[in-house]
Assembly symmetry: C2
C-alpha cells in the first residue's frame, strides 16, 4: 500500500476561507494535513488561533523546507502570483483560489508547472464548489470523449470582495480563461476573449426576454466549429426557461459540458462564497495526499485547439436611436421593434464586427445573444439565402 | 516526480462498453493502460479485435501475475461478484460497472477492500457519467461539509439490458444503496430500503400532478433527521417544475447534494447507456494510475450514520375504492378528491405504515410523495395540531 504523504501546509490569508480551512484541518486528523504557519498582512488583528501560528514574513513559509504545501487564499493577485511562483520554484505543491491571478498569468504558470512538475491545483478558482476542472481533466481527456461545447452560466450581482470583478463580468471572464485551457488546451489572455458583462442590459431587455419565454444570463461559451477551431466568448444571452441554465441564480453557477457521443452533463452549485471556496480548496488538499496533478492533456497530449473568428452570431440589440447602430455590419436583420423610448432588432453579424468595434457597448446600447447564437462560417450562405427568402426579398 | 503506474488490464466483457474501452485505450497511449486479455462468454462470435486477445477462461486473467487491473463490465451479477472477489484476493485493482452486484454484496466487498487495501472503483455503477461517488468522497468528507440531504432523480422507461431492473425501479434502488454508503457510511441491503418504482403510477396521477404544477419522478432520497439518523427511501414523488430535478428525463439522472453551510450542488448527466458508462470506467482507470482509492470516510473515519424509521411522510394516494385504503393509518388527511373512476387523497402517515404493509402497492393503488414529504418525528405534534385547526376540527 502506498502510504499517504503527510502534508505540512503554509497558508497565505486568514479570512473566512483561511480560517475555515484551519478549523477543518484541525478537526479532521484523517486528512494528515496540518497548517504550520499562516502569513497575514495585519498581525495586529485578533485571530481565533494561537499567536505563534502567524507571521507577516512570507519567507517564513516559502523558505521553510519542512513546509511541502503552500495554500494561497488572498485577494491581491499580484502578490498571489509572486507567492505561487516562488513556492513552485522552491519545490512546494500549491493550491490557489485566485482566479484573476491564474487567468492573468496562465502561460507563465503553465511553464512553471511543467518545469517543476509539481502539483498546482486551483479548483476553487474556476467555479468554487463545482468540480469542473477535475471533471474536464479526468472525464474529457481523450479522443472519444472530447468536449464539443462548454457553457458556464452565472447571474451577476453577487458581491465578491471586489464588486467590480462581478458587476462587469470580469469574474466570469477569468473563470472562462481558466476553463478554456482545461477543456480545449487553449492558452489565452482574458483580453483576447470577446466579452462584456451585463452592465448595459436594460429593464426593457428583461421584458422582451420574458415575452419570448427567456431569461437573461451571463454565459461563457465555447463551441467546436467545422474548421476544427473553437469559438469562445463571454456575453449576456437569452436562455429558454426550459434550459437547465435558466435555473442559475444568485451565487450559483451552472456548467454544461457537451461531449462526443451526444453526452451532456450539467453541474450546478455555488460558484463563489467562502464555504464553497473552502470546500474546493480542501478537496484539492485531499488530492495532494496522492500527489494528484492536472495533466493538461488537451494541451500536451493532443493537438491543442485554437480560437477562431470564423463564425457569425445571432444577436438581439436594443438601443435609443438607430444612428448608433451600424446596420451595414449585419448580414441580415430578422426582427425589429420600435417604440418611442426604446428600439430593438434581432440580426446576424460576423463576430469580427463585435471584436473590432465598440458601438454595442456604448450610447446606452445593449447586446444579448439569442439562444443557439453561433452560426458556423460554413453554414452562413445557406442560412442567408433562406432568411432572404423568408423575408420575401428573393 | 512520482511516475505513473503502467496499467496492464484484464477485461471482462466485450459489449459496447468493453469494446469502446478497448478502442479508447488503444488510441490514448498517454493513459499508459493497455488491455492484455479479454474474457468473454461466446468465443465463437466475431470481434473487432485480434483473436489472440480473447479467452473464455477467467483464470487466464485472474491468475496472470502481470495483469494488475481487472475491469469488469458484464451483466451477470453473480459471476461479477466472483470475478471481483477473486481479483482483489489476487492483489489486483478492480474497476466495476455492476450496480446490482455491488448493491447486493456491499458488506462482503467492503470487507475485502479493507482486507486487501486495493483500489476498488465503481463510479459507473452509481450514475454512469455523473461523478457522484468521487464527489461525495472528496468534497463531503469531513465534519464541516457533511451531507445534509441527498437526492437522486430519474425517469423510468429507459431500456437497460435487463428491462425489469428499470421499469420497477431496481436500478435506482441499487444506485441508492451504493450512494448511501458514500454519503453517510450506511451499509444496507437493497431489501432494507423503503422502495417502489413507478409501475403503479396512473395516467390520472400525471394529470393531477400537472394541475398542481408538478412532474412525477422516481426519487432516491436521504435526509438527516433531528435524532442524527437518516431517513432514506426510493419512491415516486411530485417535483415542482421550478425544481432542477424536474428536468431529469429519459436516460438522464439528476443528483442533488445539500451539505452543511447551506451549500447545494446539482449534477445532471446520463446515468445509463454505453458511452456514459465507458466514460466513467475510463475515468476510474485514469485514477488508478495514481493509486486512487475510495476512503469510505463516513464509514471508517466518522461515526457512521444509521437508518431511521422515526419520521412521517406526506403522501398522495390514488385508488379505485376506499375499501383498499386503511384510513386509520393516517395521522391526518388534508385533501381528498373523488370521481366515478378514480379517487385520491393527500395525507400524512408514519413511514412504518408503509414499511410494514403492502396496500399501497396493490389493487391498482398508486402512492406518490408530495414535495418536501419528510416530516421529522419531533415536528409531528405541532404539525398535527395545526392541521386539525386548519380543518376546523379543533
Amino acid at each position: 500500500m502506498e502510504t499517504h504523504k503527510q502534508l505540512i501546509i503554509g497558508l497565505f490569508g486568514f479570512g473566512v476561507v483561511g480560517e475555515g480551512l484551519y478549523k477543518v484541518l484541525q478537526q479532521t486528523p484523517s486528512l494528515k494535513a496540518s497548517i504550520k504557519k499562516v502569513c497575514i498582512k495585519n498581525t495586529a488583528k485578533k485571530r481565533n488561533a494561537p499567536e505563534a501560528l502567524f507571521t507577516s514574513d512570507k519567507n517564513e513559509l516559502l523558505q521553510d523546507p519542512e513546509i511541502n504545501v503552500i495554500v494561497e487564499v488572498i485577494d491581491d493577485s499580484v502578490a498571489a502570483f509572486d507567492i505561487v511562483s516562488t513556492a513552485l520554484k522552491n519545490g512546494k505543491s500549491v493550491v490557489s483560489a485566485s482566479k484573476k491571478m491564474i487567468a492573468d498569468n496562465l502561460p507563465a504558470l503553465l511553464a512553471l508547472q511543467k518545469e517543476t512538475d509539481l502539483p498546482f491545483l486551483y479548483e476553487a478558482a474556476a467555479c468554487a464548489s463545482i468540480p469542473v476542472i477535475r471533471n474536464l481533466e479526468e472525464y474529457y481527456d481523450n479522443d472519444l470523449f472530447f468536449s464539443e461545447a462548454l457553457l458556464l452560466a452565472q447571474q451577476l450581482g453577487f458581491a465578491e470582495s471586489n464588486p467590480k470583478l462581478d458587476v462587469e463580468g470580469y469574474d466570469a471572464l477569468n473563470k472562462w480563461t481558466i476553463l478554456l485551457n482545461h477543456a480545449y488546451g487553449i492558452v489565452s489572455a482574458p483580453t483576447e476573449i470577446l466579452f462584456t458583462g451585463i452592465q448595459n442590459v436594460q429593464g426593457s431587455d428583461a421584458i422582451v426576454a420574458k415575452e419570448k419565454g427567456f431569461d437573461i444570463k451571463l454565459i461563457g461559451q465555447a463551441k467546436k466549429l467545422k474548421n476544427g477551431k473553437v469559438a469562445a466568448f463571454v456575453l449576456p444571452q437569452f436562455v429558454p426557461l426550459s434550459d437547465p441554465l435558466s435555473f442559475v441564480k444568485n451565487e450559483y453557477n451552472g456548467v454544461v459540458i457537451e461531449s462526443g457521443f451526444a453526452d451532456k452533463q450539467f453541474f450546478y452549485g455555488k460558484g463563489a462564497g467562502s464555504f464553497p471556496t473552502a470546500s474546493a480548496v480542501l478537496s484539492d488538499i485531499a488530492a495532494l495526499r496522492y500527489n494528484y496533478k492536472y495533466e493538461y492533456k488537451k494541451l500536451y497530449h493532443h493537438q491543442p485547439h485554437e480560437l477562431s473568428n470564423d463564425y457569425y452570431l445571432k444577436v438581439y440589440v436594443s438601443f435609443d436611436d438607430w444612428k448608433y447602430i451600424p446596420r451595414e455590419d449585419f448580414e441580415w436583420i430578422e426582427e425589429w421593434h420600435a417604440q418611442a423610448e426604446r428600439k430593438y432588432l434581432i440580426g446576424v453579424l460576423h463576430c469580427n464586427k463585435l471584436i473590432n468595434n465598440n458601438w454595442w457597448k456604448q450610447n446606452n446600447t445593449s447586446l444579448v445573444l439569442t439562444p443557439d447564437a453561433i452560426i458556423d462560417d460554413l453554414d452562413i450562405v445557406h442560412l442567408k439565402k433562406r432568411s432572404l427568402e423568408l423575408a420575401g426579398v428573393i
